[in-house]
């Protein structure tokens, strides 16, 4: 399982944990040790891990705000342009800019663009879809990460990364199993 061929580069070292509590503890200690380029993997979201890794990314909210505003202005602009400029219909002298009648479509487009921003913003920031990722080279990861086990991988690009020392460090965290992740 743990074979390394000389041709493949190293992505990092991965530790496996049996329960969420150990993963949270490991993530906290890894962060405190000074590692920054590492990632915790779990089969469901664990808020304590976010805290332990100091993850706080609010960009999705910003995208949704911008998307919603874009939708709103698209809605207003479209209706004003159509109703007053491109195709004005004089019906018994009623105003062309009858803005209360433009509220529903403006509202729907605000929601629509906001939702697009949420979904595509999230996928974009997460770098998905991603057809290949080195972590899947670890058999234990493929077999358990999306089901019942918890993993923590320290990447080789981390400034503090040292193959032997990092491995020893992960062993000290009470990992059940440690694997090298090939690129």
């Amino acid at each position: 399982m743990d074979q390394i061929t000389s041709a493949s580069a190293l992505y990092g070292v991965m530790a496996e944990f049996e329960d969420p509590t150990s993963l949270v503890e490991a993530a906290r200690r890894t962060y405190n040790e000074g590692y920054r380029r590492f990632e915790a993997y779990s089969p469901y979201p664990i808020h304590e891990v976010f805290d332990a890794m100091h993850i706080r990314d609010k960009r999705v909210s910003l995208f949704v705000l911008l998307g919603g505003l874009t939708g709103m202005f698209t809605g207003i602009g479209l209706q004003v342009w159509v109703s007053a400029i491109a195709y004005p219909l004089n019906i018994a002298g009623r105003p062309y800019l009858s803005w209360p009648m433009f509220v529903p479509v403006t509202f729907e487009l605000t929601i629509l663009f906001g939702a697009f921003a949420a979904v595509f913003g999230m996928l974009g920031l997460n770098g998905l879809p991603m057809p290949y990722h080195p972590v899947f080279n670890v058999e234990r990861f493929t077999a358990h990460a999306s089901q019942d086990r918890f993993f923590l991988a320290i990447e080789a690009t981390d400034a503090k990364f040292d193959r032997a020392a990092t491995r020893t460090f992960l062993q000290g965290l009470g990992a059940k199993d440690i694997n090298d992740v090939e690129e």
């Binding site: 979201p45 219909l89 529903p104 089901q147």
Partner: protein
Amino acid sequence: MDTHPVYAPPPVIEPGHTFNTVTEQIAGIVLTRRHPYSWFFGVFVGFMGTMMLLMAITWLLIKGTGIWGVNIPVGWGFAIINFVWWIGIGHAGTLISAILLLLKQDWRTSINRFAEAMTLFAVVCAGLFPLIHTGRPWLAAYWLLPYPNTMGVWPQFRSPLIWDVFAVSTYLTVSLMFWYVGLIPDLATLRDRAKSIYVRRLFGMLALGWRGAARHWERYEEAYLLLAGLSTPLVLSVHTVVSFDFTIGIIPGWHSTIFPPYFVAGAIYAGFAMVLTLAVPLRVLYHLEDFLTLRHLENMGKVMLVTGLIVAYGYVFEAFFGWYSSNQYEQFMIYNRMFGPYWPFYWSLILCNIVMPQLLWKKRIRTSPAMLFFISMFVNVGMWLERFEIVVTSLHRDFLPSSWGMYWPTRWDLMTFFGTIALFTMLFFLFIRVLPMISIFEMRTMVPAAKVKGAKAH
């Protein structure tokens, strides 16, 4: 201080489950389990009915709307009745997935996935009617969509029918995205569990390479919460806009300010009835009693009772305002609804939507799946009758007695309507075969082992 334990609701998952048993049981339905014969029966019946629907639509496109029962004065018939009925059914799915998420109702976890699928399929069935109701769907392009065409014609943005187009298409798109985003982690689980290389590749493509990284989860949860926050006003707006189709008109019985809230409550009412109609057989057929517990069924029964009472309030005030308006047309409309030629429809509606659900006051009935199924069937029928009442009895006798008429559906109307029920059934049966009908990753968070020890409760 009194140290007796305060009342805690029963858990949303039966005790004794681990990450593995949850994953195994839900993913197994898709990947390994043999399906009961009733599955094949359901798909077969749904498929045959869908063929009937296609035949009815084909004949409509050849002949035009003359094959339907619509006439003058009743220019709006089955097409709008069924449209409103279906779109209302869809609302419960969004309510469960979005509003209950924002309210932190963790029992929603077991039912949100298939309720969202129900929403999608109901909106598909609903969307079919506006598309075909002119008999000439290709003309809808420039009637409804604002695009620069060679005629220089643009849609009328002051018409609620255009608002409908925007509301329903936004609703379908956002529901689809919400559902898909919720599915991504489960698709990854299916990818990793699949034995066959083709199945793994298929789920792998759909899972987009999801690997459960903490940084991904954090953005994922934020996006999911924001989608819920966007869907909540959206779902309320959709049926409000649908009710504008009526209230903007000046027909007696339509031109009423009570319509938007009463339509939204009715939609949730109909939707929960449909969720129960689907959940009760599903939990037995696929042995999901551990995840779809009596607590879920009871809660849905309670929601049905509350929304049913709001709907009853709507009926009472509709009648009251009809009388209180001192407008002879409004007064006659109410009288005509209750005692006119369509009186059996009105009183069956009262029986189905107001009388029968009162049984839900009793806990013994709320916790009996068979009784809940029975009552939900009444509500499904009742809500359809309500749409029929609103559309037909308002139109068939309006201001001038010389232009009164009657409306009865033809066999093509009926074939189209029952055809959409079959289409819905077929889509739903196919869904439970190919995708996990309960959110696996959210069920994992309900397992006792998922708790991080020593952490503050979130």
